[in-house]
């Protein structure tokens, strides 16, 4: 559905917003924000699991702490935030001015986010610990 059609439908659903003089807004930037959040959470969970599974990656993630004593948590969180920010910027540029099916993008984001959150749950990520 095009943005202008959506706005007309919005006015039908909630006539009170018609007086506000809203401009048309495509769903691309909204989809970018949702998916980037899902990607960020997925990265957080993935790095948490991989830090347990791989000694080499554990050491690399720990190198992000710049002698502050944070340990591998520094790398896991910093790299996840970088992945989130970069993916948001890339998606925002790619989807700028475009209309997309927001529901599809949300479900993908939700699946990624749930997997990521599970990756931060100790009984799960500790089960990947290298012997």
């Amino acid at each position: 559905m095009a943005s202008e059609d959506k706005l007309e439908k919005d006015y039908e659903m909630a006539p009170e917003i018609a007086e506000l003089g809203l401009e048309e807004r495509p769903d691309g930037p909204g989809a970018a924000a949702m998916l980037a959040a899902g990607i960020g959470l997925f990265a957080l969970g993935l790095f948490t699991v991989l830090s347990e599974a791989s000694a080499g990656l554990h050491d690399w993630l720990e190198s992000w702490d710049f002698d502050k004593g944070v340990g591998p948590l520094a790398g896991k969180t910093t790299v996840a935030v970088i992945v989130w920010a970069v993916s948001w910027i890339a998606l925002a540029i790619g989807l700028r001015g475009k209309d997309v099916d927001l529901k599809k993008w949300f479900w993908v984001a939700l699946i990624l986010g749930v997997i990521g959150a599970l990756g931060t749950f100790p009984p799960i990520f500790l089960s990947f610990a290298a012997e």
């Binding site: 659903m13 909204g30 924000a33 959040a37 502050k68 935030v81």
Partner: protein, 189 residues
């Protein structure tokens, strides 16, 4: 009456920024919930949206302050390795101290009951999942700002925004609740 620098930072991390986050959540949730068709007059929508924009961005900022101060300032004091591999520095202690037994040493040593699980489950979960809160809160702040009053007719989008908002809150609750318990069992001093 005295408070150490470490205790002050713990208060800033958990009590000030954390409480601000929870307060902003309560206001934000009420604001989002009330964005229903036929519920608000146009003038009320304008006023409500202004408050909501401020609330969601304050919530996102508070979440970032909480996790950054927690990870980069408070957490190194918690995880310092002071007691040795056998945790002998914690022997006979009832609480951790800054000289020979960090909170993590204290919990893992089990010198004051079965405390290791507080670290292995509580702290390990808290330190990771807490970072989901600012990511989700920032995405929600953007969605609320971007769509604004358009959230009123779009019920599905409003519900999705609330789901993400509650997700941010849930992550903060895990962090906040375990933080409070951990600071009771093994305070940072």
């Amino acid at each position: 009456m005295e408070i150490s620098s470490r205790e002050a930072w713990t208060v800033i991390h958990g009590l000030l920024a954390g409480t601000l986050f929870l307060l902003a959540f309560a206001g934000g949730l009420a604001g989002l919930w009330s964005l229903r068709p036929g519920f608000l007059a146009p003038t009320a929508i304008k006023e409500r949206m202004r408050r909501l924009y401020i609330g969601v961005w304050v919530m996102a900022a508070a979440a970032w302050i909480t996790v950054i101060s927690g990870t980069w300032i408070v957490y190194p004091w918690y995880r310092a390795s002071l007691a040795g591999d056998d945790y002998s520095g914690c022997a006979g202690l009832a609480l951790p101290n800054a000289a020979s037994c960090s909170p993590r040493d204290f919990l893992k040593s089990n010198v004051s009951g079965q405390t290791a699980t507080w670290h292995e489950f509580g702290m390990e979960w808290k330190e990771h999942i807490g970072w989901a809160a600012p990511i989700l809160a920032t995405a929600v702040a953007f969605l609320v700002t971007y769509y604004g009053p358009r959230l009123i007719p779009r019920t599905w989008l409003r519900v999705v925004t609330i789901v993400m908002f509650v997700g941010a809150f849930a992550a903060a609750v895990v962090g906040g609740a375990f933080g409070a318990f951990l600071n009771k069992v093994a305070p940072i001093v």
